[in-house]
Amino acid sequence: MAVEAWLDPSGRPADSPGPADLAVGVDESWPPAVVEPEAATPLPAVDRVLPLLGRFATLIGPDQERVKLTVLCALARQPAAGWRLPDAQEAVPWLEPQSTARVVEELSGAGLLLPAATDAGAWRLSDEAHVVAAVCSALSAPQLDQERLVRVLAATVTLARAVGAPDEAAFGPFLAAAGVLERDLDAIERRIAEGREEALLEAAATARAHAADMAALLQQHAELLTGSGGLGDAWERAVAALGRLETLTDDVVATLSGKADDRVRRGPRSDRSAMRGLVAASGLATLAALAGEARLPPAVGPTHLGTALAALDEHLARPGPQPVPVPEPAALPVEPPEDIPDFTTLAAQALEWLAGRGEAVLSEWVVGGSWAEATGRMAAVVEAWSRHGPGGDGTLRAELDASPVLDAVGHDEVAAVSRTLVRQPAGGELTP
């Protein structure tokens, strides 16, 4: 198929005759032959924005889109009234002329190039092509500056509304911008926790730029986003996140610059509590760095082997342990049995004496002297109760009433004692 048959600036079908200057072997120069190193051409920049421009794929076509886009951007800078193929070839000197002709052919076929109305044989960009070229050029920055992220998203909201896209087309970028603010808050909190002041200030600066752009976005598109069919909940979350981010970034900047020291320290600068907090919050390495190279004491005391041997000799010369002689036998005094009081009888008499007072606590008699004496008296009471109480011969004129209560004592080596009351038995009489 002859090129002139389908590359007609007048917009005739592809098989109609076209400008003669496109008729020179364009089929042989495909794929496009780049005559300069790619790094010296705008192609790498276009590579970076191609993913974003996927939405234009249907316009550009799937084949050699990077070259087509680059040529289109160059042609957008040609005179609006129209230009001819040599002008196009001159505008992209890095591309082999026949390849340029083929690209022009492809762009024309996609409806991105139209015949110029005022100059027969000349071309102009269609309105869609101008939009594609404008967006491509606008996004051809070497890389997206993080601080500009919300601004770019806000611009896409404006762009979507400008081209008359459905409202939903603006919602995506808005939600993405709100997400950026949430991530900023997380990043700042993370850096505060890590104690990285420099990184914290950088995050705060980026977040402040995002917050300012978000504020402008919210103001500019409030009607769209909060109207019926809008994103009321997301709007409110974005407003709340914006307020929180502005407050926190203000706090970060004021605090780290020392302007908020009156709020940071309500008490004295240095007190015991501040030291405790500092030690608890600082890593071992940070504290160790504070100590630096501690100046150590030099050494231990002098010790000579001769001195040590002399000490050993003196130690060995000491008399060894001798058994202590057994004491001389001595006659022990023997007391008649009647002189030894029966402790159980004594306890029984004590119980009757306590019962005679109406009601008394047993500890009054038991506690006294030492712990050993107290436990001895208690054992005697138990024995007296067994022998002479209701379970014994029944001669004890006292009744015991034990209860699960502890009474504090706090003297005579006894801290507490369980409560046992001693009473006269019901119907019993005391012997005078």
Binding site: D251, T255, R276, V279, A288, A291, G292, R295, P297, P298
Partner: protein, 197 residues
């Protein structure tokens, strides 16, 4: 005692100033300093403890097979710094802030070992910390009376002019970050309905 004897005494431990009156002489003191300096050591006076001490004049070169009697690692230095903050830096800062330049709580500088352990909780176990404190006591950095840790004679000579400023910077940084952590938590709670009662 002559200068040589004084050096030997000082090289094995601190000594009360009252027991070495010879060191009040400028001439003797200069001679002792010179001799210690030739051995890589220096003479220092702890005003609080009223004791003379000798200490190494600089960092030790690293030798693979060297076996120093005492070597303070990072953990020991961290505990030492914590004790210094409580026992030396804090009183000095109180005095610095007082209108008359006198610490209003002077003489009350002691540290409860349990309190210290609490500050290192999660990083140093009780037994490990006790060992470290014992080592610092042996070196002369700390003493212990009535169960409380106090500055030893060597701790009194520990700081150099830049250390206090370094500690102030660290303290300020800690206080600011603690404030920001609190503010971030407050703001998050304010913005999160589920975080409020």
């Amino acid at each position: 005692m002559n200068a040589g004897e004084l050096c030997r005494v000082l090289l094995v431990g601190s000594v009360p100033a009252a027991e070495v009156p010879e060191l009040s002489s400028d001439e003797v003191r200069a001679e002792v300093r010179r001799r210690l300096d030739e051995a890589g050591c220096e003479l220092a006076y702890s005003a609080d403890a009223d004791r003379w001490v000798a200490r190494l004049a600089g960092p030790l070169p690293h030798l693979e097979g060297h076996e120093p009697i005492v070597r303070l690692g990072q953990t020991e230095l961290a505990v030492l710094a914590a004790c210094w903050l409580h026992l030396r830096f804090l009183p000095a800062e109180r005095a610095r802030a007082a209108p008359d330049g006198v610490d209003p709580d002077a003489g009350d500088d002691a540290l409860d070992p349990g309190d210290l352990a609490e500050q290192f909780r999660g990083r140093l176990g009780h037994d490990h910390l006790d060992d470290l404190v014992d080592r610092l006591k042996q070196c002369g950095f700390l003493t212990q009376r009535d169960g409380l840790l106090r500055a030893g004679p060597l701790l009194g000579t520990f700081e150099d002019p830049g250390t206090a400023e370094q500690a102030r910077t660290l303290l300020t940084r800690h206080q600011r970050l603690a404030y920001l952590r609190q503010r971030a938590a407050e703001l998050r709670a304010d913005g999160d309905p589920s975080a409020t009662d």
